[in-house]
Homo-oligomer: 174 residues x 2
DNA sequence: CCCGGGTATACACCCGGTGTATATCCCTGG
DNA sequence: CCAGGGATATACACCGGGTGTATACCCGGG
């Protein structure tokens, strides 16, 4: 999810080290998908190469040596503009669901059967997220709601598509 | 959108060449994001390396030489299993919107202002898609609906989040 | 005759993602 | 007292995906 910019944001709070950045990232944005160490340091390397952060000398710390990364002016302004500008809303109209349905129709497979199993998988996940939603922190609840809304959007699309499968099949063959 | 599997699917229809595959892909799944040539041939190269397709010898065609790619047994079965199994529904609870809101709160920026501009961008895009939806082909209409449903999901989430910004701010600081 | 446009492929490069190796310190147990 | 495991901290190698550019061939028009 745009790891470089997020790390810049964390460095905007205060200078930090790769290891701590990974910890902070996981705490705030990880949500079951922790940031791999490899990615942390390669990303920091690119940010340093592009002059968005500067790496201090290796310092002896509480344990092995560590490098302190500080955000630069250019890094700060880049982060600020990114933060302010809105995300491009659904720019490229593509979805795996759509791809699979079209391919299924193209090859004479049972597209409706596929959509039915997909709907079942969605409903299963919605029950999971509804469960997660109850448990405690607002952050988790908000993320669960985000997922639930989008799953609901998919379900609406699935129903719509099932209702028009025959027309769509004709159009794909045509 | 899982280019390798989609190319396998197109080859399941009939053997073809890289150039024609790119054309077919764009016609059915491109939708304003055409598949770059570079990706076509590197993907075909990996598929050939992994024994999912076999590349014929270079043949003189209508113009320069061309290679004919044929799907193999293993390629066909892999495609079939992919086509049948449902897409993982919202597996990793992360979104750029959420990231930006949390970062904005963390750094004392005006998160509500950001969400307002984001909502405006979404509404603008919804008008565009509603326009696209009217125009002709069912394929376009279905993709527009998919986008519209998901934009609507985002809007619901934005409203929900705005209503709870103060609580969220406290949780992020805490 | 050559040159621009369509056909067709190859190559080089970068980013992101994953896994693994390496080095240092601390603490604990036999 | 010291061997070894766990926590801290970074580096490196590799792969797939994505982008841009180069190359080569053919054909038709001015």
């Amino acid at each position: 999810m745009s790891v470089p910019l997020t790390l810049l944001g964390l460095l905007e709070r205060e200078p930090s080290h790769g290891y701590d950045l990974k910890r902070d990232y996981d705490a705030f944005f990880g949500r079951g998908k922790p940031l791999p160490y490899g990615q942390v340091y390669s990303t920091l390397g690119r940010l340093a190469r592009d002059g968005k952060v500067v790496a201090g000398e290796a310092e002896p710390g509480d344990g092995p040596e560590r490098k302190r990364y500080v955000i630069t002016e250019t890094g700060a302004t880049e982060f600020e503009t990114w933060l302010q500008e809105p995300v491009a809303p659904e720019p490229n109209l593509q979805s795996v669901l759509f791809t699979k349905v079209v391919l299924a129709l193209m090859l004479g497979r049972d597209a409706e059967l596929y959509l039915d199993t997909q709907r079942a998988a969605h409903l299963r996940r919605m029950r999971e997220l509804t469960e997660l939603r109850r448990g405690g922190a607002l952050v988790d609840s908000l993320l669960a709601d985000h997922g639930l809304f989008h799953l609901d959007a998919d379900l609406r699309w699935i129903d719509l598509t099932v209702a028009r499968l025959d027309v769509l099949a004709a159009e794909v063959r045509g």
